[in-house]
Amino acid sequence: MTGRVAICDSALEAVAGIADGATVLVGGFGSAGQPVELVEALLEGGASELTIVSNNAGGGDHGLAALIRDGRVRKVICSYPRQSDSWHFDAAYRAGAIELELVPQGTLAERIRAAGAGIGAFFTPTGFGTPLGEGKETRMIDGRGYLLEYPLTGDVALIAAHRADELGNLVYRKTARNFGPIMAAAAARTIVQADEIVPVGALDPEHVVTPCLYVDRVVRVDRNLAVSGDRL
């Protein structure tokens, strides 16, 4: 049984065609679920002037941190750039070499979800009356203040799953799931690195978290690049 998904032989092949200036959604919360090998392949592939949408702005020296170190990122849209080991982002930010759009974590997730669900905008109370709500359209609903927030789409999503089947159905592992399912739906093209690729039928349909229609390319990857979270 074959589907639309392409099973790639290498991470480099999987990220081929990502253009300069692309908006790339990158999964992960710190190191958990970060598609480090795909991001490193993106670095090797040479794309630049990227806008990165991710919860963090990289830690240590691999993955997102390496992409920022090498000056490939024009703008980061994230909730929590500052970590004990975010030295590459910190240096780029202080040098004025990178733009930062800071978004509350739940708003970031909901904006990504909205993009995948075809929602034009939504009102949320998060951030109302704070500096992050300044300049945004507001509305009082039942006596409570809300901010209008818009969807966040991507040209490409890079995500890490635990298992993929040969159609591109995905399951994740523990808290590494984080942004994977919503980013897969929010990008024009979704590229997945998986610990394992299994035959069609090997995943229990009741347990599939991301159905295959969201997935375009899959590559099996041995996770061996060390990325640090604050404490890992």
Partner: protein, 220 residues
């Protein structure tokens, strides 16, 4: 400089833990409030939520139990308890923003008399801002508690008439647990429920917020 000595962090964590009803769904943020989990009775049935996508979080993982795919909101490796569940970020924050969690306990730079919270950014030039889930947590849970020292290192109270630090959320804090006192933030007033190593008069001169004495001693 104040020479007051209140209770230590673990004693304070015990005070907060004792106020969490059995069976509650609770988020403990990052940093100081995570100590509360060490003082919840094992049979309390309290389930801990971590906003990166888990309900039923166990203790911090050590040694061979460390799994890079299993971390808490502070990116510290943790364990899972029987009955735990995992979910993606939008679901996790819908749980928070939709008011499904009973209690959230956060740290703070400042809390105002109206329950405004400032805990995400010092606003200092050169300080890189990072908000994470702070704004969602502040306004999402049914009750938001703050756990902090009452005074800064240079002796200034962090319970203030109005926050001078950038705000995290408006009128969202209902209780403030500190080393010197527990404050109930009620509409139009702040009530002192407990005192630790000080008396009401001393506290009332220390804090520039008008206080109501609600301690048992005042009631008797």
């Amino acid at each position: 400089m104040s020479t007051l000595t209140g209770i230590d962090r673990d004693a304070l964590a015990r005070v907060v833990a004792a106020d969490i009803p059995p069976g509650s769904f609770v988020n403990l943020g990052i940093g100081l409030p995570t100590r509360i989990s060490n003082h919840l009775p094992p049979d309390s049935g309290v389930m801990l939520h971590t906003e990166n996508g888990m309900l039923g979080m166990g203790r911090e993982a050590r040694g061979k139990a460390i799994d890079p795919d299993l971390v808490n909101a502070g990116k510290v490796p943790v364990t899972e308890l029987p009955g735990a569940s995992y979910f993606h970020h939008a679901d996790s924050f819908a749980m928070m923003r939709g008011g499904h969690l009973d209690i959230c306990v956060l740290g703070a730079y400042q809390v105002s008399a109206a329950g405004d919270l400032a805990n995400w950014h010092t606003g200092q030039p050169g300080d890189i801002p990072a908000v994470g889930g702070a704004m969602d947590l502040a306004i999402g849970a049914r009750q938001t508690f703050v756990m902090m020292t009452l005074l800064t290192r240079d002796g200034r109270p962090k319970l203030v008439p109005e926050c001078t630090y950038p705000l995290t959320g408006l009128a969202c804090v209902s209780r403030v647990y500190t080393d010197l006192a527990v404050f109930l933030v009620e509409p139009g007033r702040v009530v002192v429920r407990d005192l630790f190593g000080t008396d009401f008069g001393t506290l009332a001169t220390l804090v520039r917020v008008p206080l109501v004495d609600g301690t048992l001693r005042a009631a008797s």
